[in-house]
């Protein structure tokens, strides 16, 4: 291969395949200029690595935090459509449609005047007033509200349980951390006093 600053950069950046790397290695043995250039690139890379990664100042909020939770509306909507209420709603809507259709298309009942004295027949009985569309809509709304409330209540129970579990785990973690601190402190004291515990002495203490 001939001298190529770009290939040398790829070499340092580990973007070359095995064969290409071997070719560069062979070339470097006989080319002082490329060796010097490679040295400069490596020093540059080493300098860049002197800039260490920083610890994140604060852990990222997890999904169970409110910031990750969907909005109330999204929760209600997804809860509703992702639950059994969907089937109930669809059935209710279908049934309502059938009732409305039936009410609109059914012919009006014809009154038959009997010759004989009036005998109570079904024809004399006043038909129940047809259910208006507004009423049907109202019933649907009520059913939907109930389904949504039930779904939300169930979710709230789950959330409360999760929060409870989390608090418990946090408490356990805090206790473990405190214990660790105490142990570290003890160990530090021992070291300062010139005593280095061996595994045998630790077993003895235990």
């Amino acid at each position: 291969m001939s001298c190529s600053p770009i290939v040398l950069k790829d070499y340092v950046l580990k973007e070359l395949g095995d064969a290409e790397r071997r070719a560069v290695d062979a070339h470097l043995k006989s080319c002082t200029g490329c060796r010097e250039e490679l040295e400069r690139l490596r020093l540059t890379e080493a300098a860049l690595f002197s800039l260490r990664e920083e610890e994140i100042p604060q852990r990222i909020a997890f999904v169970s935090d409110p910031v990750f939770e969907p909005s109330t509306w999204q929760r209600v909507w997804s809860g509703f459509w992702g639950s059994a209420a969907r089937l109930g709603f669809a059935s209710a809507a279908l049934l309502s449609g059938a009732i409305v259709y039936s009410a609109v298309t059914r012919p009006a009942p014809v009154a038959v005047t009997p010759a004989a004295p009036a005998v109570p027949t079904i024809a004399n009985v006043q038909p129940a007033p047809a259910v208006s569309e507004a009423e049907i809509q109202n019933r649907i709304d009520v059913a939907v509200r109930k389904a949504v409330a039930a779904s939300r209540e169930q979710e709230m129970v789950q959330v409360r349980q999760l929060v409870g579990d989390l608090q418990q785990k946090r408490q356990q973690f805090t206790l473990a951390l405190a214990q660790l601190e105490v142990d570290e402190h003890k160990l530090s004291d021992l070291r300062h006093s010139g005593y280095y515990p061996t595994s045998a002495s630790v077993r003895e203490q235990q």
């Binding site: 770009i6 020093l43 860049l48 260490r52 920083e54 994140i56 604060q58 852990r59 990222i60 990750f68």
Partner: protein, 188 residues
Amino acid sequence: MIFRAVEDGDLIRQAARGSVEAYNLLVSRWEKRVYNYLLRITGNREDALDLTQDVFLKAYQNLRKLDDPGRFAPWLYRIAHNEAYSMFRKRRPETDVDDLEPEATETGITVGGSAVFPVELSLAVASALERLSPDQREAVVLKVYQGFKFEEMAEILACPVSTVKSRLYTAFDLLKTELAPVSARGVS
């Protein structure tokens, strides 16, 4: 090499099915890297932290759209890149994003003191990185600090591989001029 009992791909699949615990674990594995990437391109800790938060929120909301869990890293960094540039545009809408520079500080990004590398070298690096264009700096950060391949960088930056290489090579030439002599003094 750190052995991981559960691979990222498994966590992604579980998280996509709604497992909060799986996503929490995934976040804990990636938050430091994403934060440092954003810190290098914004030069501001508060912005980096806020953006990291936004990135993981957006990633969670769109996790189901990730077809191949093996491409999680470039996908996540693509979100991070978009979030950062969206912030740049909001702050200075009349300015071309290519002209944007990270917030200048007296000492650049502060680094933790290290006995192995002199502080002067770290400061020189921070200063040299600040003098690069935003595109060049981001290419260096993705390659050197985050270890992405050219193809992955092209995916993150939504540009051809040739553009990625061009930015990186130019950046390296500029950094070499400034840092190689300083680094040589530090090493010797």
